[in-house]
């Protein structure tokens, strides 16, 4: 008689999810699913709103990567206007994005995942959190807090507000940068570089300890997608999309994000509010692909900044082809922080940065527009249609985490099969690993469902017909 095991909520992720594992009579795993349990309906609720509110409305999809949403949205609005923002606006948008990458990746690594990495997957749950890190590794905790703060401060210097700043606008940005703020940012760079260098060294040293996880955290062949610049280097804001296969061969390159619908489909299932995008030519669900930090490092030819390029080379030497295990997202995240600090340094040196011309004014010239950026968690696409008056008639959002939905589900199954078997006694560590694989993707469920939420964890054993046999509660 089959049973189902439920883990809910998945904690230390940005969002609200649940895992169910279906067990055969002998206790072996037959299926595992990652459910996203809330939904907010941004694609509908923006209907009837003026397009120029969209950057601020969609910012509210996520409190962690609001900048990515406002950038994607701003770019979609640029397309509706049919304008190129002034050079300075583009510099500023990219600079803002650097701030976000630093804070968001710092959050993911230090606040959410470092408890697993530093205290161990099997550590006591009560300690397995940032407070536990503050107590056990105060210097690392402090580094994490500092680094995230630097990211948030950069955002604040540029846009005036750390979270939901309403600063990206159609045609550019809403205010220029002051010299004073630029200098303040310049001053933060050395500290940021020092922290990330320390952390990279520490992390690389500890890789040894995670053999099991590396082997099972979604370690399987898939396609990878990410944005690259004209030279094929890593790019987060202004670039084109590239898809490679599990061998590392380029499947498609130079995809104009506006054409995304030719390549990506989104499937809906009735057991989750998170849709499952797939690579269209391969169909559903065979068109499984991954996005995010590791995927980006997999698809690009290099980073294009000196320190990050060194780290990139080291990262890519982990495997012959693309790095397969999603566990390495943690690693890639640190490299991207380094890349962002270097990029920021470059932009801050640009004399055009302080120009007052930061906004192209226009009326809508097109009734449709698509904007795409790399959010910290992966490719983010905003696609809008407006009516003659500029009111939204339709929107489609493909969020970073959604892209990884199929891979996360397969990853959960992989971990379940490896760590759960036979007996009904399921170890704490096994349960935590089920969540940790999800954590490795750093899913932003507020983005993906455009929602968040939490429920107590229940492990439910159910017959195949759904009848509840037994409930275990953990906490």
């Amino acid at each position: 008689m089959g049973k189902t095991l439920t883990i809910e909520p998945i904690s230390r992720i940005e969002g609200h999810g649940m895992i169910t594992v279906t067990l055969e009579d002998d206790g072996s795993v037959s299926d595992a699913k990652f459910h996203v349990t809330q939904f907010r309906g941004f694609e509908k609720l923006c209907e009837g709103r003026p397009y120029y509110e969209m950057p601020s409305i969609t910012e509210r999809i996520c409190g962690i990567c609001p900048i990515s949403h406002s950038l994607a949205s701003g770019k979609a609005c640029d397309a509706i206007l049919g304008v190129h923002p002034p050079e300075t606006a583009i510099l500023l948008r990219r600079l803002l994005n650097c701030g976000e990458y630093i804070q968001s990746h710092a959050l993911s690594f230090f606040y959410l995942s470092s408890p697993d990495l530093l205290l161990g997957m099997d550590a006591e749950p009560a300690k397995r959190n940032i407070v536990g890190i503050i107590e056990a590794h105060p210097e690392i905790a402090r580094d994490g807090i500092r680094l995230r703060k630097i990211g948030q401060q950069i955002i604040e210097f540029i846009s005036g507000k750390r979270i939901h700043p309403a600063w990206v606008v159609p045609g550019g940005v809403n205010a220029p940068l002051s010299a004073e703020h630029r200098d303040a940012m310049l001053q933060m760079i050395p500290e940021a570089l020092a922290i990330i260098t320390r952390t990279l060294t520490m992390f690389k040293k500890s890789l040894e300890n995670y053999r099991e996880e590396i082997a099972t955290f979604a370690n399987f062949p898939t396609l990878f997608m990410g944005m690259v610049d004209a030279d094929g280097n890593l790019e987060h804001v202004y670039g084109k999309l590239r898809i490679i296969d599990a061998k590392g061969h380029i499947v498609v390159d130079n995809i104009d994000p506006a054409d995304y619908q030719n390549y990506l489909g989104e499937a809906a299932e009735n057991w989750t509010y998170l849709k499952a995008p797939y690579y269209k030519p391969l169909g559903y669900p065979e068109g499984i692909y991954r996005v995010g930090p590791a995927a980006r490092l997999n698809v690009c030819n290099g980073c294009g900044t000196p320190l990050a390029d060194q780290e990139w080379a080291e990262f890519r030497s982990l495997e012959r082809g693309p790095v397969m295990s999603s566990f390495f997202n943690h690693y890639a995240r640190l490299i991207e922080i380094l890349f962002s600090i270097e990029t920021m340094e470059k932009i801050l040196a640009d004399p055009a940065l302080l120009s007052l011309r930061v906004r192209a004014i226009a009326q809508p010239n097109f009734l449709e527009g698509t904007g795409c950026v790399e959010a910290p968690r992966g490719t983010l696409i905003h696609h809008y249609r407006v009516d003659e008056n500029g009111l939204m008639t339709w929107a489609n959002l493909i969020v970073a985490t959604g892209n990884n939905n199929l891979a996360m589900n397969r990853g959960v199954l992989q971990v379940a099969k490896r760590f759960i078997s036979g007996s009904e006694e399921i170890s704490e560590g096994a349960l935590n690993r089920l969540e940790a694989v999800i954590r490795a993707f750093d899913p932003c469920l507020s983005c993906s469902t455009h929602a968040l939420g939490q429920m107590p964890l229940l492990i439910e054993f159910r017959q195949v017909d759904g009848k509840l046999i037994r409930t275990l509660q953990r906490g």
């Binding site: 709103r49 950057p55 601020s56 309403a166 606008v169 159609p170 809403n174 500029g390």
Partner: protein, 255 residues
């Protein structure tokens, strides 16, 4: 067209007569035809208002400017109440302050105000009043009515979700611009401001496109198109100026 009682036919008010009375225990003096609100403001005493705007006729409708007058059971709207000799006015008793808060909260429930994504965020009179009055939440249930944005005008848009029915737009259009493009349809909770025959603003033949309505609107209901969130800062310096200049022109025509 609002029939303002301060009109010339008000026979019981004598503009030349000066009187003294008390506002919040302070002795003040005023002309008989100055409203309590005007006198209070001249004396640096703030009374919250929403439908009142210097340069437009009074409606006495938002009820936020209510004050107590010693010896009078009813609360009186200070914008349309005139002082009498030795009157004692209290503008900030707990009673009136509580009522003001509740009225403001009712206004928040009436339409769909989402401050965070509003063009007027940070520059909104409704929002400012909530700060001024210490409203940190709305105790009544939100009504969530269905309202749309009309963006058919080439330069402006009206978002009925943010309208508080102060009718400043109606008044400025009628009294200052003289077009009377705006009015209010329906009644009660279903009231809504309209242009011409409740048609898309862009098709309203009477609209001169002057934009005065946009500038006097206290919230983000009326805004300039293309202004993003928090960017709509209203400019109203023209209003007292125009009111004065229109008066002057009238004189010169009569010559």
């Amino acid at each position: 067209m609002s029939h303002h009682p301060k009109g010339k036919l008000r026979t019981d008010l004598n503009p030349s007569r000066l009187l003294t009375f008390k506002i919040d225990d302070r002795d003040v003096s005023a002309r008989e035809d100055e409203s309590i609100l005007e006198v209070a403001r001249q004396n640096g005493i703030a009374i919250p208002t929403l439908c009142h705007l210097d340069g437009l006729s009074e409606r006495g409708a938002c009820r936020l400017c209510i004050v107590e007058v010693r010896g009078v059971a009813k609360l009186l709207p200070s914008c349309v109440t005139f002082p009498r000799q030795d009157m004692e006015v209290i503008t900030n008793s707990e009673r009136v302050v509580n009522y003001r808060k509740k009225i403001l909260e009712l206004l928040f429930t009436e339409r769909n105000h989402v401050c965070s994504v509003c063009v007027s965020n940070g520059h909104c009179e409704l929002q400012n009043l909530s700060v001024e009055l210490g409203v940190t939440h709305v105790r009544y249930n939100y009504l969530y009515p269905e309202h749309a944005v009309d963006a058919s005008h080439s330069r402006f848009s009206v978002d009925h979700n943010r309208c508080v029915l102060c009718l400043r737009c109606v008044r400025v259009c009628d009294e200052i611009e003289g077009a009377h493009t705006w009015d209010i349809m329906g009644r009660g909770i279903t009231s809504k401001v309209i242009t011409d025959l409740n048609q898309p603003w862009g098709t309203a033949e009477t609209c001169t496109g002057c934009g005065k309505c946009v500038q006097v609107c206290p919230t983000g209901a009326l805004s300039e198109k293309g202004k993003s969130v928090a960017e709509m800062i209203k400019r109203r310096q023209f209003l007292p100026y125009l009111q004065m200049m229109r008066g002057r022109q009238e004189e010169s025509w009569q010559k």
